[in-house]
Each structure stands twice: as structure tokens, then as C-alpha cells.
């Protein structure tokens, strides 16, 4: 703690305190804000409102009947889970075309997302938004870790830091993602990601994977700063810059004549 005390007047300290405050407030809000108990059954009104939202925000790419166009795939049969994932993570509506839709600012609130999902679900049978009992992350961390290493780590990296795919596509970082969205991604296989249906990874398996990822988010760094959990590349970069830099700095000081 002497390290902290010594730096309490450092100019960066106030920034850090502010940041910390923001993070804590945000975290508390997320923890305490009222949540939907479960994806409630959709009413006809929801479907109707969802259709309006769809026509306003999605139809230009997915077609007025959601049958797909050259710009976007058909949404018939993708289910509510796909909508909840794509819209809930801000990937859709797409702000700018690119090799892949990226996590973005969420533009629709929970109600709108639900209505849109209800409309898309009404187009054809598809996976529904999962129940919270399988997305809360109360699974077996160790089992989840093993499943993660077999099924996910090759693209998303051992700690879910993300990884490169071909031609500019990439597997995104999985850090600090809501359990529901992790679940929905496995279930629906968005974009490049393959599908992990319930016969491949059972709902409990999926919750184990979520438990593992949440543990990665929450566990203390056992050995200090984790350098982004990217493996030897960031370690090598650290050794070649800060590490050897400090040592050479000491050597220069040692070789210079004292005043």
C-alpha cells in the first residue's frame, strides 16, 4: 500500500479516482437496476410494434418481409435470440458496412428489442431468448473452462481476449459480456461463428462456459498486470520496451559522469 500512498498526490491519481468512481457507479447500476424476470411471452401488440420498428430500422437491408436482400440475410427462422444478441450488443442496426458487424452503442431500449424480437420470432420457428437460469453464470467454472478450451479458445483466445480470423474478420473479445449475450451467440452462431446448438453444448454446458468467462472477468490478476492476456507477443513487447528500457536507462545513468 505504500506504493499507493506515495502516489496519492500524483496528477494521474485524480483521474484514476474519477475513473474508479465511474466504474463503481456503473457497476452498481448494472447490478441493482430492475431486470426483466424472464423474456415474457410476446403479445400481439409486441409483434405489431416490432414490425413497425423493423420497417423503420431493418427493412432497408433485410427486406420488407425480412426475406433478405443482397445487403442482408433473411431473418426468417433466426429466432428471438438472434435479434436479442444482434440488437442488444449494438451490432444491429448496422451503422456502417464492413467485413463484420462490430459491437457498438446500443440504439434500441429493452422494450424495443423485445418487440423487434417478437416480430422476427413470429416469422418462423427459431431459438428463443434463453431463460436467466442458464445465463446467470452459476455454472461449474472448471468444466466451463475445459469446454471453452475445446470449443472457443482457438478463435477467442484462452482468456476470451479475441483473435484474428481470415481477411480482416475477427473473433471479438469476450470480456465483460452479459451472460445472456454469450449464450445467444453460442445458440445462434452470429456471422462467422459456428452454431453450438443444445445437443452440442447443453444449456448447462453453456452456463458453465459463461461461468468460466465471468470468472476471467472477475478474478484478481494473480501475477500483476495481465498485458491484455494476449500471450507471448505482449510479453515480448514489454521486455523489448519497458523491460530493457529500464535496464538501459540504469546503464546510461551508471556510465554518465556525476555532476
Amino acid at each position: 500500500m505504500s506504493f499507493l500512498a506515495a502516489r496519492r498526490r500524483h496528477p494521474a491519481a485524480i483521474v484514476l479516482v474519477l475513473l474508479l468512481g465511474l466504474v463503481v457507479t456503473g457497476g452498481l447500476y448494472t447490478a441493482l437496476a430492475p431486470k426483466d424476470a424472464k423474456a415474457a411471452t410476446a403479445t400481439a401488440d409486441d409483434v405489431k410494434a416490432g414490425k413497425d420498428l423493423f420497417l423503420a430500422n431493418c427493412a432497408s437491408c433485410h427486406g420488407t418481409n425480412a426475406n433478405g436482400t443482397a445487403a442482408g440475410p433473411s431473418l426468417v427462422g433466426v429466432g428471438a435470440a438472434a435479434v436479442d444478441f444482434q440488437v442488444g450488443t449494438g451490432r444491429m442496426p448496422l451503422t456502417q458496412p464492413g467485413v463484420q458487424a462490430q459491437r457498438n452503442k446500443v440504439t434500441m431500449d429493452a422494450t424495443e428489442t423485445k418487440q423487434l424480437a417478437a416480430y422476427v420470432a413470429s416469422l418462423g420457428p427459431g431459438p428463443a431468448v434463453p431463460a436467466t437460469e442458464y445465463t446467470n453464470g452459476n455454472g461449474n467454472i472448471a468444466k466451463g473452462g475445459e469446454l471453452f478450451r475445446v470449443n472457443c479458445a482457438m478463435c477467442h483466445n484462452f482468456a476470451g481476449s479475441g483473435g484474428a480470423l481470415t481477411r480482416g474478420k475477427f473473433a471479438p473479445s469476450l470480456r465483460n459480456i452479459e451472460g445472456k449475450h454469450i449464450y445467444e451467440a453460442m445458440l445462434t452462431g452470429p456471422q462467422s461463428m459456428p452454431v453450438f446448438n443444445d445437443t452440442n453444448l447443453s444449456p448447462q454446458d453453456k452456463n458453465d462456459v459463461i461461468a468460466y468467462l465471468h470468472n476471467v472477468d472477475n478474478e484478481a490478476n494473480a501475477g500483476g498486470h495481465n498485458l491484455g492476456n494476449l500471450g507471448p507477443v505482449s510479453e515480448g513487447m514489454f521486455a523489448w520496451t519497458i523491460g530493457i528500457g529500464l535496464l538501459i536507462g540504469a546503464a546510461v545513468w551508471l556510465g554518465r559522469k556525476a555532476a
Binding site: F196, N221, G224, K257
Partner: protein, 366 residues
């Protein structure tokens, strides 16, 4: 002929300066090269003349040594007092194990205190007047060289090397061969011969097989759970990581996994470009070796939309719709396909082993 004959003329001390091939008429009596002006005058430090500055340095050095001692005490306190699961939040570093950080920082400061103090002492208080040490030519003088040669020749004479060639040759032979037993033992015993181990996998045998006969086809099992997979489980866009049934009952499961690991996907049949690939799969469900044909990493990065399979080690990219041919990267050969079918209970089984060796290339695979 000595190499020196071909040396370019050097503008060393005695020869006249050559300002580009005679364009300069003489050097005006100036030396050809500058003279070494000798050591510059010693510049005093503050501490050399000012006793107060010297005392300040003394205090700084002592202060650093005291810091070191305090840090050492801190290390001992941290070692015993801090619970190994307690955490601390540090700026930049984040939430970190408190014991680890405390030990690292106190150990670092304890060492740095000594090092910085000693160097500061040397820089500010020890004499910083440069000292000159003379070099001597490394080569021995001619007398010593001759002496060494004489010792050798006299020794040789006394041992009658020249007169007894038989001894010299047989000794040479014996010395030349003495490493053979040691080498033979090492090379011979380190490992078994590969035989056809690299060319076969667990898939080429059947469950309950005796003397190469009977038994039933191995099921495709989920990795890591070891449960069988129905054809209907493999929906479009799915990927299954697969091991052969019974792999954990083998003598060396890891060795078998290295070769038998398989990736299973379902493609739209219309997208499959190779007839063989269609025939060896079933309803668009195809199984390929998951072992890269480059250096053997598991090729697991399946892009559901492009049907590309990417190896995370060296980025070899395989096209799953075209018999897993290489479309980018350092690998040469396609991934071998595993011929699959459905058994009576609806589970996926392997009809036969791979038709060619899986994994990295090796000399004998031909």
C-alpha cells in the same frame, strides 16, 4: 605470398597524406594525421571540492541502503502477514493478488536500494579520475613459441611416434571409434522406430476387434464429454469437435488424440464442390482431420459463413467446401477426410480410417 602485399596503402603516421591522388601538392610540412591529444583534463565534481555536496551524497547513499533494509523487513512482514488470497487494487495494474505484489515490490526495492546506493557511491564519492592500463601484444614471443614447438617435437621423439606408425594408426582408429558404443546406446535406446505409427490412427481399428477381424465401427464422440453424436444433432452451421469412441481406454490417449482428432460440420450439400467429399459425408455432414498438415496444430477456427478453416498457429486456411484444400498459408496438403455414415441407432460412425496419413508431412509419407 603474404596478404600484406595486397594491402592498400594506409595513411598511417609516417607515409605522406594522400589527398585524393596527387591533387594536393605536398602537405606544407604538416603531419599526415592528427596527433592523439591525450587525456582531457579531469573535471571536478561538486563533491570533489565542496564538502557539503560530498556529505549530501553520503546521506543519499546511506538513505538508499536504509531503504533496502526497510524493504527487506517489508518482504518478511508481507510473507508472513498477508493472506495468499487477499487482493489489492493498484492503478494501471488492476485487481491483483496482494501477497504477490507485496513480495515483488519489496524484493525489488530491497535489491534496488543496494544497487542504486552502490552505484551512486561510486559515481559521486569514489575517484572518477580515469586510469590508464597498458595493453600488451597477445602473441607469445618467438622464444616461447619455439619452446612450445620443441616440447611437442621432443615429446613426439621420445614417444617414437615417427618410428612406430602402427601404434599411431591403431590409436587413431581406437580413438575414432570409442564414441560409437556411447552413441549407439543413446540413439538405439532413446525411442522406438516409427514403423507405420505416423500413418495410422485409432479410426482405422474397430471396437472389439480381434486380430484385425470383427468388431463394430467406432462412433464419433464429442470432445471432451465423450458422448455419441446423432446425425440430427449436427444442424446447419454447427461445428463439433470429435474424438473416436474408446480413445480414453487406449494405452496412450494423448498420443491417439494427436492423430485422431476430428472436426465435424454440416454444410449445405449444394455448396460442396467435390463429389468424393459428398460421398464420404452424409447429408452434407462431413468430418475432417483437425490436425494441420503443416506442423500439426489443431485447426479449429471454423468460419461458418465462408466455410474456411483457419489454423491459429501459422494461418494455413482450408476450404471446407472444396475438400479442405489449402487456400492460404504455409500448409501444402488438404486435410484428410474421414468417411462417415450412420449406424442403426442414428449415431455417426466412421466407416474406415483416414485414407492417408494425418498431420504434418514426413519423409516416408511419399
Amino acid at each position: 605470398m603474404s596478404e600484406h602485399d595486397n594491402l592498400p596503402e594506409r595513411s598511417s603516421g609516417s607515409s605522406p597524406v594522400d589527398l585524393s591522388k596527387g591533387h594536393v601538392e605536398g602537405t606544407g610540412g604538416l603531419p599526415a594525421r592528427f596527433e592523439n591529444p591525450g587525456l582531457p583534463a579531469h573535471v571536478h565534481r561538486h563533491g570533489d571540492d565542496d564538502d557539503a555536496a560530498a556529505r549530501r551524497s553520503e546521506r543519499q547513499v546511506a538513505g538508499l541502503f536504509v531503504l533496502s533494509m526497510l524493504a527487506t523487513v517489508g518482504f518478511a512482514v508481507a510473507y508472513f502477514a498477508i493472506d495468499k488470497n487477499s487482493t489489492v487494487t493498484l492503478p494501471l495494474v488492476g485487481v491483483t493478488n496482494a501477497l504477490h505484489v507485496a513480495l515483488g515490490v519489496t524484493l525489488g526495492l530491497s535489491l534496488l536500494g543496494i544497487g542504486l546506493g552502490a552505484v551512486h557511491w561510486a559515481k559521486t564519492l569514489m575517484s572518477d579520475e580515469e586510469i590508464v592500463e597498458e595493453r600488451h601484444v597477445l602473441r607469445s614471443d618467438d622464444g616461447a613459441r619455439q619452446g612450445a614447438i620443441d616440447v611437442l617435437t621432443e615429446g613426439g621423439e621420445s614417444a617414437q611416434i615417427r618410428r612406430r606408425p602402427l601404434i599411431v594408426y591403431t590409436l587413431g582408429g581406437a580413438l575414432g571409434l570409442f564414441a560409437v558404443p556411447l552413441g549407439l546406446q543413446l540413439v538405439g535406446s532413446l525411442g522406438p522406430l516409427p514403423k507405420n505409427d505416423l500413418s495410422t490412427t485409432l479410426w482405422s481399428t474397430r471396437i472389439g476387434q480381434r486380430d484385425g477381424k470383427g468388431g463394430r465401427k467406432r462412433k464419433l464422440m464429442r470432445d471432451p464429454e465423450g458422448t455419441a453424436i446423432r446425425l440430427t444433432d449436427v444442424t446447419l452451421g454447427s461445428v463439433f469437435h470429435v474424438l473416436p469412441e474408446g480413445i480414453n481406454e487406449t494405452e496412450h490417449p494423448l498420443n491417439e488424440k494427436v492423430k485422431a482428432s476430428v472436426i465435424l460440420v454440416r454444410l449445405e450439400e449444394s455448396k460442396i464442390r467435390s463429389q468424393r467429399q459428398r460421398d464420404w459425408g452424409i447429408d452434407g455432414v462431413v468430418a475432417y482431420s483437425k490436425i494441420c498438415t503443416h506442423v500439426g496444430c489443431p485447426v479449429g477456427l471454423y468460419e461458418q459463413q465462408t466455410h474456411h478453416l483457419l489454423c491459429p498457429c501459422h494461418q494455413s486456411t482450408f476450404d471446407m467446401t472444396d475438400d479442405c484444400k489449402v487456400i492460404f498459408g504455409p500448409a501444402k496438403r488438404p486435410l484428410p477426410q474421414l468417411k462417415i455414415s450412420v449406424d442403426t441407432e442414428g449415431y455417426l460412425v466412421a466407416d474406415q480410417g483416414f485414407a492417408e496419413p494425418v498431420g504434418p508431412s514426413f519423409w516416408e509419407r511419399g
